[in-house]
Symmetry: D2
């Protein structure tokens, strides 16, 4: 067999720029009530979850994404006990949250039960059994409707959503109005972190900078950060927001100590120096963040291209 023949998965990562990944197996391919789902297996990335033609995470590098999304926000909080997770069907975000000894209760809402069931079945390396942890309450409802009626408050909220695509399931979880609802359910000193789309030179203005700016209209303090995710072919951004002061954690050795003290498993990507990398933003990103003045609103959301 030549180098070309065979099964490939193609994904447009930016207009006119497409990734081709050779696929060994298609473990699942179907359509839920909400979205198209594929579970693929490749030599390069191991098992990966694809929703509506967008790679969500892969076995090979999901630790960069999930540690990068969860750990800084959790460690910036002095003692997170109650955590809210929006989305996160693969269970990797849940796994990272549960690694914190202080955590007593996690409410995870993923709209699409079928996706979560598929992840539990096909992505054991992602969730590593997290769904069975007794601290977890897993619900399949819209995160926003739930929060509006929720009597509980949370210390940390992690928004691990699909991108804000037009016609998608999540764009109303990236708006000013949503962030105000979420904030109302944070305990004093509470922290919200959200995945925020691509942060590389080509695409950081698609949604990263607007999410940052939208959060700045709602919270006193917002910090953006980025990691490189090979499966996404680009840098990827997160934004952390709070009305409280967000500690810088910019002394690597101290942070390494804090991790050792508060996290009950080894981390593969995140440590003191990786933190410094994540929060030292390239010049173009800082400039675009400063120049951004769009705000995501329910009535005028900024969609990802």
């Amino acid at each position: 067999m030549d180098e070309i023949s065979g099964k490939w998965y193609l994904e447009t990562v930016f207009p006119d720029l497409v990734m081709m990944l050779r696929v060994q197996k298609v473990l699942y391919s179907g359509k839920t009530e909400y979205q198209n789902v594929e579970v693929l297996e490749s030599v390069v990335f191991g098992r990966s979850l694809v929703l509506d033609g967008k790679t969500q995470s892969t076995e090979r590098d999901e630790h960069i994404y999930h540690e990068g999304l969860v750990q800084p926000a959790m460690l910036m909080h002095p003692q997170p006990r109650t955590v809210f997770i929006g989305g996160g069907g693969e269970g990797g975000t849940l796994r990272e949250v549960l690694s914190h000894k202080s955590v007593e209760r996690v409410v995870m809402l993923d709209l699409d039960q079928e996706v979560v069931d598929l992840c539990r079945r096909y992505l054991p390396q992602h969730h590593q059994g997290s769904f069975d942890d007794p601290r977890v309450e897993l619900l399949h409802q819209d995160a926003r409707a739930y929060l509006e009626n929720c009597p509980q408050q949370f210390d940390v909220m992690v928004m691990d959503l699909v991108d804000p695509l037009e016609g998608g399931t999540a764009y109303l979880l990236y708006t000013d109005q949503y962030y105000r609802i979420a904030k109302s359910k944070l305990n004093p000193g509470g922290i919200l972190v959200t995945q925020s789309g691509p942060a590389g030179l080509l695409a950081h203005q698609e949604c990263f900078t607007t999410i940052h700016n939208t959060l700045q209209g709602v919270f006193n303090n917002v910090r953006g950060c980025q990691v490189h995710i090979p499966a996404f072919q680009t840098l990827w951004g997160f934004n952390i927001a709070s009305d409280a002061e967000l500690p810088k954690l910019d002394e690597p050795e101290k942070l390494d100590g804090l991790i050792a003290q508060r996290v009950n498993k080894p981390l593969k990507f995140y440590d003191g120096e990786s933190h410094t990398n994540m929060f030292s933003l390239p010049k173009f990103l800082r400039q675009s963040m400063q120049n951004e003045n769009r705000v995501n609103r329910d009535e005028a959301p900024v969609f990802m291209a």
Copy 2:
């Protein structure tokens, strides 16, 4: 989802010329003792069988291939009772052979039992239950070794093999030596037909013309023909050989009558006029056949590119 993202199957159809087919489902993907196997499903072609990165046949157009391979040879014989099939794992060739009322017994040899089992399971539209016909004896052995020791004689032999690829399972079933063995097991008036690879302008000299020439060294009469198979992206060739005279069947209405008389099911592709099309060869093909002087021999086979 954009027009590009998703699962595609790529196949090199000619050096530097690749087909990309969007795939809905991968029904099976694995490795047998002999080869890599994929069963794919696409909107364009329905279900298709791929062996070692080469599309063998698809639900959408397999009738062109299987009727084209089987029907002319069967109808050129006055009354085929015993038929030998080499290869043909999908069961389409078997189906066409069994459509002849005169057929009393078919011995089918496909080396790879797993492939046949997969076809029985995943390609019901191909075989349409043919494997269950009581006239069929299905064996999983090498066709050549079997024939060498076979006490039986046959009226028609249909060689429905993978292409003669270097390192493949079938190239020793395209040689002068093999054809001499096969001929020795034909009844008087017996006919052998073999799939013979691409017959379009680009690739007909890869193996079509050498198979034709090799057969001409063994049999008194050899006739080449061709059909267009969309899934192969090209014209495809067959060669029919016999020591007896091969009737031309060049009066379409007469041939339509013969079909009605001898075949017990409607044919979708083959009839009198399609026959004329198949056996009227484009000029380049006739010229290359005349100019061909290579002979496939066990010790020096001509491999497909």
Copy 3:
């Protein structure tokens, strides 16, 4: 360099079915007043002309297309002296028309002068100097407007157009109304032939059968035929129409004699047997032609997919 890296030309040949062709050189890439133009060079096909993302013809196989389009219609006419060509910018159609000793005058209309100039420069193997023949009048106007006001009559008209694409330049040259205009400019016994799009199993109903049916509403006699064009990845159709009887030319040796007598150069593809192949249509094509009842009208054209 691996087998994959490099420049490729992709073309959707059918929805979800894409051809990838490795390209050596891009000789020209630009936009005229009417369309996007590319002149590519590949090992597989030599030089090719691409208009609006559709391959028009290639050095390697244009002879099949141009001989197949022109020669039967010319030879069905007893003595073609005046010929009208609509489209045909590459000059291959012109070359075939001029090969007929009887031809005294050719009027060729191609809307897009820039394309013709590019072909003259980059595709010498296509036109072989035909544009310099003193019998040729080359005009750059809309063929339909020209014919409406044309005082001349023609023996043969060859419509060598881009496909009837929505938003394209040519779909009004495939309609009932257009064919009536054209017919009014044919001499008694005159013949019109038009390229008619794909004629393979997958796509023959896109426009081949409707063009056939539309011509049948205007002319007494219409005959469809097909050739295999590797660069188009499919069989390709032509339709020949006349109010006069169209001779069958179905005796190959006689036709070979006629060619020798009337054509002043060797033909690479077309001869008696190739003619038989072209006009013996596969069963599915005949069935679809019989079942077709759509008519292309100016106000309701049938576009190619």
Copy 4:
């Protein structure tokens, strides 16, 4: 025209992972004495230079690569006056070197004069006229042979080479033996920096870590750093080496001041915080650097996959 049809450039970025970039124009495509060269133009990346099927740099993001390669090494030196550049045909490295007010003389060696000439012609946004600076001596010889016989010493050496590919032109400029030669031509306090291949999770062990380790065997101090280059689809690594202490430059504001003082043009990517990002390495990279024990030697080079 659909989203797929058209000209694409494909590049294998990692085995089984291919980038497809839609191309507007192929400005140049040819073969020099040493390598295949393409100059492409795309909407995504503007003009790009491709050597032997590997993208070298693009108009859109070359500033990240060239500032990242040159500026830290230049600023770690107290006052670079004489600079040696190996490779760097596009002129971007030269441009960055010349931006330093202290620079009095640059010797640039690029083996392939044709490539440099093509870059001067087609990539004006890369070199921005740098080749005309009177401080520059441009030579077309093998860098290693030149250095061996060079009577001069340099303050900074910048190795801006193609990757160490088997059969390529540069792998002998990444070896222990070469680095010893280079070191012997550095002034006291002199600094060498070399491009070092991919530094992302997937491919950093292909050559980044071995180059780092090889340099550690030759120089007292070696520091690795990385940037994200969208056109390379990954993080990219550089290594800086010196027998002198390498200043950390880890106070962003101080570094911003130093840049303002020593560099005579605005920088688009590099500043104090980008420096911190570059030199804060992700955990996996640090671990692999620590675990690396391969040394590139002339007689046993480590090639890039």
